[in-house]
Amino acid sequence: MALCTWGGVALCGVALCGAALLVPRTVTAAPQPPDTLRVTVTVSDSVRRGETVLVTLRLTNTSDKRVTLYLTGRTITFDVVVAGSDGQVVWRRLDHVTTQQIVHVKALAPGETLELRDRWRAAAPPGTYTVTGVIPTDREPLRTAPAHLRVAP
């Protein structure tokens, strides 16, 4: 499931389940090419094992000019990678799925944000995990810096 907002105003999609979501923490990615964009991923600091975690990717045009993005999918495709402290990937959103290989041309006005959301059921063993967002384009994908998530017993 993917939800999208424009400028943090309009929300289209499905209501989230009543998971115990704590205060979200935003991690800002290192500068991305083009450097007019900021890509971030937001997750809870901590969650109990088996509960659902909301993962939010935000792609913001930080420039004063309109930016045209060449994203993929009729519904914009994005990946979320959850890895343990040893680097072992425990969940990848796009693992074992087939996506339509279409370019989605999306314009972002200055200051506008594209928001993409999904949920992950934290079935992994207790520990600390990194969560990274990836937004494919028709060239190099846009990647967030990792956010940290603690899965409690």
Binding site: G73, Q101, I102
Partner: protein, 410 residues
């Protein structure tokens, strides 16, 4: 070869070397610096034509300095004029190879200029060259263009028939990519509709209607005809409108006794057909070709030609050309796979998986097998891929024609 510009470049290089040698008054006790130019340059052809009687051209033949002379007894003059040049390449002046020339360089130069001035008014002329390695004027013409027109032009200009060689060659074009406007339209190039970009799968004729086939999800609504308008390569370009969607069967809901899973919508192909607008040139059977498979190049260097249709089996090596990842090639790993489409309730029935590169925008691409030379067997329409971009999924051509009706594709 443009002789004047070459001579200017050589003089400039020599001047730079001379300046470098003279401008620094300090002395070095270290090793001798590596010379900027290690090879003595040949005198310019104008000088050779004046100082070597019967000079007809200079070239390097398998490393050996070689010269045409209309009078081979004049090799002494050639050795004097080119001795330093030969020595810089490890040959004594006496090692210079002398070939019997038929025409003097001055005559060839005059004829070449005369032919150049008028030849390009004739259709199909690609280039005119004073070919110093053949002692002739060489005229390149596109395949199928008239040789006789060039020969009659040469005769009218007073150029001896034997002095002109006419050779068929590929046209020289600006480096065009799969994402540029391409005419005639061929498969593999970018198409634009709404806010989306895809690729053309193949050209076809259906019931007398000139058409192209792309993915069903490369229409305004996947399944059902709503008259999607297509542009190649972008709607913002002039003369880019190429056609309108005319065939895209609806997806059917699953149920008992159906091949389609319950609560899903299915088809056997992710394919649609668009009718070309009047006057849009296209090449039936043509697929854009890049420089090689799996090298990432998007530059069009030629074309494949569909000469048959067929189906692949596991283990076959197949190809695709699409606007994002170009020409990719890999092995068929699974056939007739019922495939769920991420983010939807659609299941594509009986699809083929290939271990080969894919990216967003390749949807709609042609999938084909190489059958020898530039001939290919059309296999289907690409529509999907995995998240890593290492596996693509396509609808077999039999499924496509089962749903879109019979298509003439070559």
């Amino acid at each position: 070869m443009t002789h004047q510009s070459t001579a200017v470049r050589l003089l400039a290089a020599a001047a730079l070397v001379a300046v470098a040698a003279c401008s620094d008054g300090t002395r070095s006790t270290g090793p001798e610096p590596t010379p900027v130019l290690r090879t003595a340059q040949a005198p310019d052809v104008g000088t050779l034509a004046r100082t070597v009687p019967g000079f007809g051209g200079l070239f390097i033949d398998n490393g050996v300095p070689t010269v045409y002379l209309t009078d081979v007894t004049k090799r002494g003059a050639a050795e004097r004029a080119l001795g330093a040049f030969a020595q810089s390449r490890g040959f004594a002046p006496g090692d210079i190879r002398v070939l019997q020339g038929r025409y003097a360089y001055g005559d060839l130069d005059r004829w070449s200029r005369a032919v150049t001035f008028e030849a390009f008014d004739q259709g199909g002329v690609v280039f005119v060259d004073l070919d110093e390695a053949a002692n002739r004027v060489l005229v390149g013409v596109e395949r199928g263009a008239s040789h006789a027109n060039v020969r009659s032009l040469a005769a009218r200009l007073g150029v001896p028939a034997e002095a002109v060689v006419v050779r068929e060659t590929d046209p020289i074009v600006y480096a065009t990519t799969l994402q540029d406007q391409v005419r005639p339209v061929v498969a593999g190039v970018q198409i634009h509709f709404g806010n989306f970009l895809c690729s053309i799968g193949f050209n076809a004729v259906s019931g007398g209607q000139n058409s192209f086939v792309t993915a069903s999800h490369c229409t305004n609504t996947q399944g059902g005809v709503e008259g999607t308008q297509y542009f190649q390569s972008l709607s913002s370009q002039p003369n880019s409108f190429i056609g309108t969607e005319v065939a895209d069967p609806v997806y059917v809901r699953g149920g008992k006794g159906s091949a389609c899973p319950k609560s899903r919508r299915c088809r056997f192909s992710d394919a649609s057909r668009a009718a070309y607008a009047a006057g849009v040139p296209f090449t039936l059977g043509g697929i854009a070709q890049t420089s090689g498979p799996n090298n990432g190049s998007l530059t069009i260097t030629g074309s494949f030609s569909v000469t048959s249709e067929g189906n692949a089996v596991v283990g076959d090596v197949v190809n695709k050309v699409g606007r994002t990842t170009g020409w990719t090639q890999g092995v068929v790993t699974n056939t007739c796979v019922n495939t769920g489409v991420s983010g939807s309730n659609i299941v594509q029935l009986c699809q083929t998986f290939v271990n080969a590169g894919v990216g967003g925008g390749d949807s709609g691409s042609d999938v084909f097998g190489l059958t020898g030379g530039n001939s290919v067997r059309l296999l289907g329409i690409l529509w999907g891929g995995n998240g890593a971009g290492t596996q693509f999924v396509y609808s077999p051509i039999t499924n496509v024609e089962q749903e879109l009706g019979p298509l003439t594709t070559f």
